[in-house]
């Protein structure tokens, strides 16, 4: 990193006074350059995608996408982040467990400067953020109720009951929902763990099925089976997948 060049910062908060405060505090730090202010998670993803900032100052509670979801969508692109929150016991626990710095609102200019110092150090060392671990701790084992998919600057929010099935494609999963396919960079086994176990069954190494979409199971030759969905799509069922499917259906 070139030391003489200013660090680029975006601030994300849905409350205008809160953004104003960060803007004011940042003015005391000439090595920081505020390049975008975002009022919600969608704008944040867009701005981060366009500007590739060095630092994101990110509020946890926001409409549509919260701070954690923004972080999830940005993935490895995020170089460093400072979370801000008024009060969120789950978030605080996650921050503390993974030693991620955060600012408790209202915060002083001094405390803000400290957080910037930590961020500078992190950037200099190019330390990776423990994004995945942070998200997992925050989720506390609760199943997802919606999937977030980023398509460059756009974000799609898909409630999980709209998902028909998920197909594994190398490092990605292809999510079939409401007649469309969405690509998401995630391992299928990872997604399987996050989805509710009584709603989604891994019927095959490559397929994760929303069982409410299952119309019937057909026997093809050599006792291998095929899942026929309500929209007539056919998906293969592996032997292990059939056992899991039976276990869920028999319950």
């Amino acid at each position: 990193m070139n030391e003489t060049e200013a660090l680029t910062v975006i601030v994300v908060d849905d409350e205008s006074p809160a953004r104003g405060l960060v803007r004011e505090y940042l003015a005391n730090h000439p090595d920081m350059r505020l390049i975008a202010e975002c009022a919600n998670g969608f704008e944040a993803v867009k701005a981060a995608n366009t500007h590739k900032p060095d630092l994101i100052i990110l509020d946890v509670q926001m409409p549509k996408l919260d701070g954690f979801e923004v972080l999830e969508l940005l993935g490895a692109e995020t170089r460093s982040v400072i979370f801000t929150t008024a009060y969120d016991s789950y978030a605080l626990r996650a921050f503390n467990v993974h030693a991620v710095d955060y600012l408790l609102k209202p915060f002083s200019a001094e405390r803000f400067a400290e957080a910037l110092t930590l961020a500078r150090t992190r950037l200099r060392k190019s330390e990776a953020l423990p994004t995945r671990e942070l998200l997992e701790t925050r989720r506390e084992g609760a199943a997802l109720d919606r999937l977030l998919i980023r398509d460059r600057s756009n974000v799609h929010v898909i409630p999980i009951d709209q998902v028909d099935f998920v197909e594994s494609q190398d490092d990605y999963v292809s999510i079939r929902a409401a007649g469309k396919n969405y690509l998401k960079e995630q391992a299928i086994s990872d997604l399987e763990q996050q989805l509710p176990a009584n709603g989604f069954v891994r019927i095959h190494r490559r397929f994760l099925l929303n069982i409410s979409r299952l119309a019937k199971i057909e026997l093809s030759e050599k006792d291998s089976r095929i899942a026929v969905l309500l929209d007539k799509t056919q998906l293969p069922i592996s032997r292990a997948g059939y056992a899991k499917l039976r276990a869920v259906l028999d319950r």
Partner: protein, 354 residues
């Protein structure tokens, strides 16, 4: 004070209860040709012994019987009282017969005065009946009292719990508001001061209004509007408020801060989740004998109703239960992009006569 004495209706009923006893005596002592005398003698006397019987209340209060104090403990005192009452009865009979004689009504009560031991026995018996009656009365009064005490104390306990819960209710609101104040201090000092004042007023309201207390819908609306004004500083143009109530509804009394958690939900779980924000609508009206209140907000289609709102809903439901028993309706309707909470409670006038 004798409990029956304070209620004219009960008093009349009690005294009338002695007339059948008098009638039995008339039949027992009267004979052909002297029915008039028997009636003129015994009916008024039975009413008088009714009044005499009321003194049993004080004896019963002084010598209560219960699990710990068995009846034999009260027996000597009651026996003494009954004997005294018997003697008193004979005295009353003597006086009454003298009065009847002096009135020249062509009645000869002298034949009854010839058997004073019978009169004495009747007096003792009637007083014994009065004692039994008063023990039963006291027992029933006590159980009524303890029942209402249990109800009252359970309401107090519940309210105390709710108060404790509400005190820790929303640190998020408080810290966010303080952050707004902190932010506005340099950029817009006048707004910062305004925010401080709003916050102070709102906090004072929540501290002042004991939760067992009832306030008018108008006062409740004032508190809600203060709360919403604070949230408007934070959320800016994203939050708008529509608040309406009929004149009659505005004067009705409801448990203080009943609606506050619902309005908070409407902001935190409704408006705050929408990029474009929306309007929180608060309405109150009276229809028939019911006060109808509703709070509505637009919802975010992408986000399932969050779990967090359940806390506030339960709090309100429990308070309604504590204040109105089963006589309330509480429902939530989530349809067509609007989340609405409807509450119906009886009007205060109806509630007290019920």
């Amino acid at each position: 004070m004798h409990p029956i004495f304070t209620n004219g209706k009960q008093m009349a009923l009690y005294i009338l209860g002695y007339l059948p006893i008098g009638a039995v005596l008339v039949i027992g002592f009267g004979h052909a040709g002297a029915w008039g005398t028997a009636a003129a003698f015994f009916l008024p006397l039975s009413v008088l012994s009714g009044f005499l019987g009321m003194t049993a209340y004080y004896v019963c209060r002084a010598f209560p019987i219960s699990q710990q104090y068995r009846i034999w403990r009260a027996l000597p005192a009651q026996a003494t009282a009954a004997v005294t009452a018997g003697g008193f009865s004979v005295g009353m009979a003597w006086a009454w017969s003298a009065i009847l004689k002096s009135l020249n009504l062509n009645v000869q009560p002298k034949m009854y005065m010839d058997q004073p031991w019978s009169l004495f026995a009747i007096g003792v018996l009637l007083f014994g009946l009065a004692i039994a009656f008063h023990y039963a009365l006291i027992a029933s009064l006590d159980s009524q009292r303890s029942e209402s005490q249990v109800l009252e104390s359970s309401l107090l306990v519940r309210e105390a719990e709710l108060k404790a819960l509400r005190a820790q209710l929303n640190p998020h609101f408080l810290f966010n508001s303080l952050n707004s104040v902190s932010a506005l201090t340099t950029s817009d000092p006048a707004s910062a001061r305004h925010m401080c004042l709003l916050l102070a007023d709102f906090l004072r309201d929540t501290l002042r209004l004991g939760s067992a207390q009832r306030i008018s819908v108008r006062e409740e609306f004032t508190v809600l509007q203060r709360y919403l004004a604070i949230e408007q500083v934070r959320l800016g143009s994203r939050l708008s408020v529509q608040c309406a109530g009929s004149d009659q509804a505005m004067q009705e009394k409801i448990p203080a801060l009943l609606l506050q958690p619902l309005v908070e939900n409407a902001v935190v779980h409704g408006i705050a989740h929408r990029l474009e924000g929306g309007t929180v609508s608060i309405d109150a009206e009276c229809r028939d004998s019911v006060l109808i209140m509703s709070i509505a907000n637009p919802t975010d289609a992408d986000r399932p109703r969050s779990q967090g709102s359940g806390f506030g809903l339960n709090l309100v439901r429990q308070r309604l239960q504590a204040h109105y028993g089963a006589a309330y309706l509480f429902e939530t309707v989530d349809a067509k992009g609007t989340y609405r909470v409807n509450i119906r409670v009886p009007l205060a006038a109806v509630e007290t006569t019920a």
